[in-house]
């Protein structure tokens, strides 16, 4: 970052401060799916020791923070993922990985629509099939507001995330206090479980922090570049505390059936303050969707738009409506998310989504480590406002650990061997690779021919 760029930042009329960076980072990670992942994690550890894998995952999230911190400092732009990946590896591999990773956003949007729909249907005492109507309705509202260019303003986002985090923490603590008995084996995570189970618990723990790094796409909007890194660090701390309390409270107060339901957070609310707790947590769940739908739709649709404008996706995906919104990606995201959410509602396979998300997040953290390491060799002179000390050791170690976690998460669902997550990821990766290797060259050739045929407008001097 040059001095003039820093000076320009200081003069921006609208710029984000540290508070909004923290709430954005925390809010993007704290989707409704967080509650299901937390409840799912309980199955892999003994007694009330779920906080241990969450803390271990927090330490790993700090390693990922180091990777993203260094990369974001080098490329403080919303297009950072494209820039650091194509400078670290072959562009075809970079695009394949990026497109596969984008699957996570679709899964999280779909999962949140399903969870919020199910929670609202349950809270209103409606039959399970009504959840499908809620799902379609919620996504239709999300698509419509996005198409109209309506976004959640910084202050409202700050408020929404604060409500979700504080309410979850308070409900978790009250549930523990009201249980009236001490924690069960709080220091023996392996009690009745194998080391492999503990590894799976850590993988799910990493998922609890996932998407904290998406705030790096706001790098162009912040008043001070360093606030992105500070914000991510604070968000990891907040997530560690809130998720540990909520997960231990769930393991301590909920039954097996409640933990494996689509709305364990509602039962946690009841355990904390009785029936009114159900409504509190139903409202909190609905608020989480505000962040997910706002952040998810904007991040994914703008990335697709940018990639299409760059020439790496069909031009149709760069069409804008009269409000300068890339309407095709928004509609496609809405339709695909609705389809996935309805499939989940029919199959009750939400833990498969959690496992796929956990595996993809671990994978991208490993890839970020690889990029940070490679760029140290390939671009040693590029300024690094944040330099991850210990990258030479923690880089390779992080790549191995995140790779192992990705593999573990993709082969297990609800403490049983299940290759479904791996199959979904392999299919997504194969489709991405097919597009990049077979379809994209044709698109680029046609685009090059179109441009070559167009006369240059700038007069020759």
């Amino acid at each position: 970052m040059t001095e003039s760029a820093i000076a320009s930042r200081a003069t921006l009329r609208r710029a984000l401060g540290l508070r909004t960076v923290v709430t954005t980072s925390t809010g993007l990670a704290f989707a409704a799916l967080e509650y299901l992942a937390a409840a799912g994690l309980v199955a892999y550890v003994g007694g009330d020791s779920a906080y241990i894998p969450i803390i271990v995952a927090g330490v790993l999230a700090l390693v990922a923070y180091g990777f993203f911190g260094e990369l974001n400092g080098m490329f403080p732009t919303a297009a950072a993922i494209r820039l650091y990946m194509k400078r670290s590896m072959d562009d075809r591999a970079a695009l394949t990985i990026t497109f596969t990773y984008m699957t996570t956003i679709v899964l999280v949007i779909a999962a949140d629509a399903f969870i919020v729909g199910s929670a609202l249907a349950h809270a209103f005492g409606e039959p399970a099939w009504v959840a499908s109507i809620w799902i379609v309705g919620l996504l239709a509202v999300a698509v419509a507001t996005n198409l109209r260019g309506i976004t959640v303003a910084g202050l409202l986002q700050d408020l929404a995330t604060s409500v979700v985090v504080v309410a979850t923490l308070v409900i978790g603590l009250l549930a523990l206090v009201h249980s009236g008995h001490g924690l069960h084996t709080p220091f023996q995570p392996l009690h009745g479980h194998s080391p492999g189970d503990f590894l799976e618990a850590i993988a799910l723990g990493v998922f609890l922090y996932s998407a904290f790094e998406w705030v790096t796409t706001s790098a162009e909007e912040v008043r001070e570049p360093a606030s992105i890194n500070r914000g991510m660090l604070i968000a990891i701390g907040i997530l560690c505390v809130v998720c540990s309390v909520a997960t231990v409270a769930m393991s301590h107060t909920l039954t097996h059936n409640e933990l494996t339901s689509a709305y364990p957070q509602l039962y946690l609310g009841i355990a904390a303050i009785g029936h009114s707790g159900l409504w509190v947590m139903a409202a909190v769940t609905a608020v989480t969707a505000l962040n997910t739908f706002n952040g998810g739709f904007i991040t994914a649709s703008r990335f697709i738009y940018g990639t299409a404008r760059e020439g790496s996706l069909p031009r149709q995906l760069a069409h804008l409506n009269d409000r300068a919104v890339p309407w095709v990606p928004v509609v496609v995201l809405g339709v695909v998310s609705a389809a996935v959410a309805l499939i989940v509602a029919l199959t009750h396979a939400w833990q498969v989504l959690v496992a796929v998300g956990a595996a993809l997040e671990a994978m991208i953290y490993g890839v970020a480590g690889l990029c940070a390491l490679r760029l140290r060799t390939r671009q040693p002179d590029t300024p690094r406002p944040f330099r991850f000390r210990g990258l030479a050791v923690l880089g390779p170690l992080g790549i191995v650990v995140f790779g192992l976690l990705a593999l573990t998460a993709s082969l297990s669902v609800q403490n049983r061997f299940n290759p479904a997550p791996l199959v979904i990821i392999v299919v997504a990766a194969a489709l991405s690779a097919f597009y990049v290797l077979r379809v994209l060259p044709g698109i680029r050739e046609r685009e090059a021919a179109r441009r070559a045929a167009r006369p240059r407008r700038r007069p020759l001097r």
Partner: protein, 119 residues
Amino acid sequence: MASTEELLEAYAEWRTRSNANPRLTKMVQGWDRVIHFTTTDTAQSYTMRVEDQQLSELAVGHEGRPDVVVTGSSEDFCDMFWGDLNPSEKYMSGEITLLGSQQDVMRIDAISMVAFLDT
């Protein structure tokens, strides 16, 4: 390197096209912004305003507090204003950098794209 005169001429062409484009004027409805341009190779600075759905003339120098700051080479700016360059490509390759909200950045790209829909 493009001179100030070349850049002003190119911008004037861009402005005429943009202000005469009904779709574009609708797209910038309610979007009154101050945009600073800075060239990396010639250290020139310019200010463009969008007010009442119209692009202003390009002022030499930075005026007022910006909503968006665009930094790139004078050649790239000149080509962009003539519609010979897709700014998104330069942005995705890191050659053009921006400061400002994502929504504002989208609008600027929208102006450059819709003004030259055949680009």
